[in-house]
C-alpha cells in the first residue's frame, strides 16, 4: 500500500471587521481559507511525500464551507481530501478525536501551529495523544534531509527557549507559517481541483464528560522584571524610560539584510544599556 502523509487543515475566515466600539466581529465569508501555518504544513507534507512517494491526504473538521478550501489543497498537489462533519466550536480534544481515525496510519501528520481564529494550538497535541505517537509542536525550522519518513527541526519552548529535535514517524508535527511557503498551484491542477472529490465522514459522538473551556485570554508573554531606571523623582524616571534625555542623534538609519539588521539592533540596545 502507498505510504501516507497526512495534513490537518482548519478553514477560517482570513479577514474580519471588528467594530471599534462594540467589539462585534463582522465575518467575511469570502475570505475563507487557511492560515499561513496550515499552508506551510501542507508544503512540508508535499515535500516529504515527494521524497518517499507517499500520498498526501488533507483532513479538515468542519462544515460544508470547508470543501472549497480543501480543494485548494488538491490544487497544490494533495491526493485525498477528507472532511469530518463536526459541530462548529467543538473543543480541541473533540476535533482531534474526530480527525484521528482519518490520519491514523500516516507516517507523519502535519498541522499548522495555531489556527488564525484565536485557536489555542492544542489540536496537534491532542491528536498525538489520540494516535499514541510522538509529537513535535511549534516548529520554527524543518529539515527533511534525505531520511525517509522523518525530519529534524527546531521547536519553540516556553520562556523563549528552543529545542532541536530529530523525529522519526509516526509523529504529529505542527509548524509555524514562516517555515515554508506553499507552492503555487499549476493551472492544470487548479482546473482539476475544482472537481476533486471530498470524502465526508461523520464525527464520533462527543466523549462525556468533555473538558469544558470556560474562558480564554490572548497570549501574553511572561513579564520580566527589569531594574527601574535611575532618577530621584518619578518624572525623571519616566524621562529616562522613554529616552527623552538620550543624546540627540542616537538614531541611525541603516539598510541591512534581516540577520545583520537584528544584530545591529541588539548591538545598539546593548550599547544604550537597554539589555540586561
Amino acid at each position: 500500500m502507498r505510504p501516507l502523509v497526512a495534513v490537518c487543515w482548519k478553514a477560517v475566515e482570513l479577514r474580519a471587521g471588528v467594530d471599534p466600539l462594540t467589539g462585534e466581529i463582522r465575518p467575511d465569508p469570502r475570505s475563507l481559507g487557511v492560515s499561513p501555518a496550515d499552508e506551510a504544513a501542507l508544503e512540508w507534507a508535499l515535500r516529504a511525500a515527494e521524497g518517499t512517494g507517499a500520498a498526501v491526504r488533507v483532513v479538515s473538521a468542519g462544515g460544508p464551507e470547508a470543501d472549497g478550501v480543501l480543494r485548494q489543497a488538491a490544487a497544490a498537489g494533495a491526493a485525498e481530501l477528507v472532511r469530518v462533519a463536526i459541530e462548529p466550536g467543538s473543543p480541541s480534544c473533540e476535533v482531534a478525536r474526530a480527525l484521528a481515525p482519518h490520519v491514523a496510519g500516516a507516517g507523519l501528520v502535519w498541522c499548522g501551529d495555531v489556527s488564525l481564529d484565536r485557536g489555542s494550538g492544542a489540536v496537534p497535541a491532542f491528536l498525538a495523544a489520540e494516535l499514541g505517537v510522538a509529537q513535535a509542536l511549534g516548529l520554527l525550522e524543518v529539515d527533511l534531509g534525505a531520511g525517509a519518513g522523518g525530519f529534524s527541526g527546531l521547536r519553540r519552548l516556553d520562556g523563549g527557549r528552543r529545542e532541536r529535535l530529530r523525529v522519526e514517524g509516526p509523529a504529529v508535527a505542527s509548524c509555524e507559517g514562516g517555515t515554508a511557503r506553499l507552492r503555487r498551484a499549476s493551472l492544470h491542477l487548479m482546473l482539476e481541483a475544482r472537481r476533486a472529490p471530498v470524502r465526508i465522514e461523520a464525527a464520533p459522538p462527543p466523549r462525556r464528560p468533555a473538558p469544558h473551556v470556560v474562558g480564554r485570554a490572548p497570549f501574553r508573554p511572561r513579564a520580566r522584571v527589569v531594574p527601574p531606571p535611575p532618577g530621584e523623582h518619578a518624572a525623571d524616571r519616566v524621562r529616562a524610560l522613554i529616552g527623552a534625555e538620550a543624546p540627540a542623534g542616537r538614531a541611525r538609519v541603516v539598510t541591512l539584510g534581516p540577520e545583520e539588521a537584528a544584530e545591529a539592533i541588539l548591538e545598539a540596545l546593548a550599547a544604550w544599556g537597554e539589555l540586561p
Binding site: 498551484a185 493551472l187 492544470h188 482546473l191
Partner: protein, 434 residues
Amino acid sequence: MAERFDAVVVGAGPAGSMAALQLARAGRSVCLLERGPFPGSKNLYGGVVYARVLDGILPRWAEEAPLERFVTRRVTMVLTATQSLAVDFRSSAWGEAPYNGATALRPEFDAWLAAQAEAEGAVLVCSTTATGLLVDASGAVVGVRTDRPGGEIGAGVVVACDGVNALLAKEAGLAEAPDPSHYTLGVKQVLRLPEAEIERRFGLAPGEGADFEILGGTGEVPGGGFLYTNRDTLSVGVVLSLDGLSRSAVRPEEVLAGLTAHPAIAPLVDGGEVVEFGAHLIPEAGLEMMPRLAGDGILVAGDAAGMCLAAGIWLEGVNFAMASGSAAGEAAAEALVAGDTTRRGLAGYEARLSSGFVLADHRRLRHAPGLVLSERVQRRYPEMVCNLVEELFTVRNPAPKPGVVQMARRAARRSGVGLGDLLRDGWRAWRTFG
C-alpha cells in the same frame, strides 16, 4: 499547451462576467480568469449600477443581485471652497420596478455576476493573472499565458476585459500608448453609519438611496466628487484630473479630506467610521481613446476598451461594461460557430455595439469629455454660478437690488469668464448634449 477552451475571458469585472455568461449560455467552453482572490476583490468604483441592461439577460436581477439601495434621490451639486448650489431631484418611480439606478458594493456585485456566469457553465479561475497573449505564426491571438506553472491556455477567442490598464489590448496592438489626459483618478472612502441614521440624514425611506454628483469641491485640482448611500455605509469620493493632480503637487487623499470637510458635505458624513479607502483610474476620453475593438482572435470590452461614459452629469461605466461584455460574448460565440475568429469573423461585436446604446451614446457625447474636463467647466463656471446665486440672494439694504444682468456680468468677471467663453462653451454644450 495543456489547457484549451473555446474562449478565455480575462478579468471577472462586469464586462468579463457578462462575456463569459453569454459564451457559456451559447454552449461554449469558457474560462474566466481573475487575478484577485474572488471577483470584485480588486475592483473599486463610485457606487451606482444602472442594471436595466440585464433585463433581458438576467430578468430577476433586481431581486437577486446584492444591491444596497434603489436610488430615488439625485442631487447635482456645484461646490466652491465656501459655497454650494444643488438641484435636488426625487422620484418615487425610481424605487419601483423597472427601477433606475441602485447602489451596490463591487465585491458583492461582481462576485454575484461571476456566479451567474459560473451557473451557466463558465469556469472561473481566481488568483490567476493573464500575463500575456499567445500568438500564432500569422499574428493571430490563440490564447493567454498566466502566472501559474504550466499556465498557458489555448482558446479560439480571447475576450480582454482586464480593465482600465488594457494591457492585453496594448499587447495585441489594438490600443495606442496611453495619454494621461484621457484618464482621471477616482479616490474613495467608505464610511460606516447606522442604517437608520443614513435614512434620517438623507431623508430616505428604508431601501431608498441618494446619489450626489458634485462638480468642483476639489480645491486647486480640477475635478468633482460623489456621495452615495449604501445600506449602512456611505461611499464618498473625488474624481481628479491626472494632469491637474500632478501639476498641483497635492496628494489625492488631501483633496478627498477637503471635500468631506466642506460645509455642505461634512454634516452628511460626520461620525462615519472609515472601513475602506482606495483609488482607481477612470478612462474618461470615450471615443477618442477607444482602441480597435477586435483583432484576429481577440475582442476588447469594458474599461479596457475605454467604454466608461464620463460626461459630466453622467458617470456610467458598469452598464457600459456589462453591455459591451455581453455583446463580445455573443459575437465570440457566433464566430466560433462559424469557425471564423479572424477580425472579420468577429465583426458582429462592433455591429452589436453600434446598434445598441454603447456606441450610440459615445458617438453622441463624443465631445463631452473635452468639454467636461476643461478648466472652465471644472472650476470657473461652478464659481461663477455660485457667485451669481450669492449675489442674487444677498440683501444689501439700504442699497437697492442691482439688475440680474449686472449681477451676472459681475459674477462672470469675478470668475474670469468672458462673454466669448460663455458663447463658445454654450455652443459646444448644445452640440454635445442637445
